[in-house]
Symmetry: C2
Subunit: 121 residues, 2 copies
DNA sequence: ATTTATATAGTAATGATTCCTATTACTTAT
DNA sequence: ATAAGTAATAGGAATCATTACTATATAAAT
């Protein structure tokens, strides 16, 4: 993967937000810094960054979201304001018990907790 | 929600499989019994059945899947064969601890454990 | 049987994502 | 510094899942 200023811009935009943005959100933000950047470039770079493990893809729901936080964590999503926030769920024991009960080797976990956040209850 | 033989057919198809089928899979199966059924009808009925709580929607990934099993459970997905199987994860304690640590009221949980199933490791 | 309203088939539209291709621009070697 | 080789880009077309539209059909109530 060789350098490009488009990728640097895209990665910078992701690192600067905690909103778990969509590809289109990132594209709009990128256009403000580089008017000619294309949506295809955004998608391609998001895929590459994810492949390199520099960002994570959250694929729950019909629109993919992207996350600069690559350490193991899960998400809370508020059904009122739509905000998605991080939560750490210890999963060592869980992975072990799934291995024992189902002979299934867990490699990746995606959890979404939907409900009402602290600002809306 | 008034009776229609299309909905009865669709619901029957979902109840008869454990594959967590997509809308298109259900559509293809339905066409074999009722040649003129339309994809729009399948989607509309899936939405209605979900609204009535008769089926569950699994919205991880870019394609929605449907589940006749409406009791609280989660899913394992094998990255080799693609099979999606059920797993029960006790969540009472988890919901309670999220309430305490994040003041977040969990209403719905969606967990996907990706990895290798017992037939492929 | 008549009325009323919901459901359907068929098709068009939408929205997210992927694919295609000529051009551009990093990178390495000369 | 120049050239060659190749990965990356812009822009647009194509794809795929899902939703919207609308005239017709059919369940349900009277
Ligand atoms: Mn996160
Ligand atoms: Mn299930
Ligand atoms: Zn909220
Ligand atoms: Zn498998």
């Amino acid at each position: 993967m060789r350098y490009s200023k488009q990728r640097e811009l895209i990665y910078g935009i992701i690192k600067a937000t905690s909103t778990h943005p969509t590809a289109n959100w990132i594209y709009q933000a990128a256009r403000e810094k580089m008017a000619t950047i294309s949506l295809g470039t955004v998608y391609r770079n998001l895929d590459q960054l994810a492949l390199e493990g520099m960002i994570k893809v959250i694929s729950e729901g019909n629109i993919a979201r992207y996350d600069w936080n690559t350490v193991s964590h899960q998400h809370l999503r508020c059904s009122v304001c739509g905000k998605m926030s991080d939560i750490e769920i210890p999963d060592r024991q869980l992975i072990k018990s799934i291995k024992h009960s189902h002979q299934f080797d867990v490699e990746k976990i995606e959890m979404i907790f939907m409900g009402i956040c602290s600002e809306h209850n």
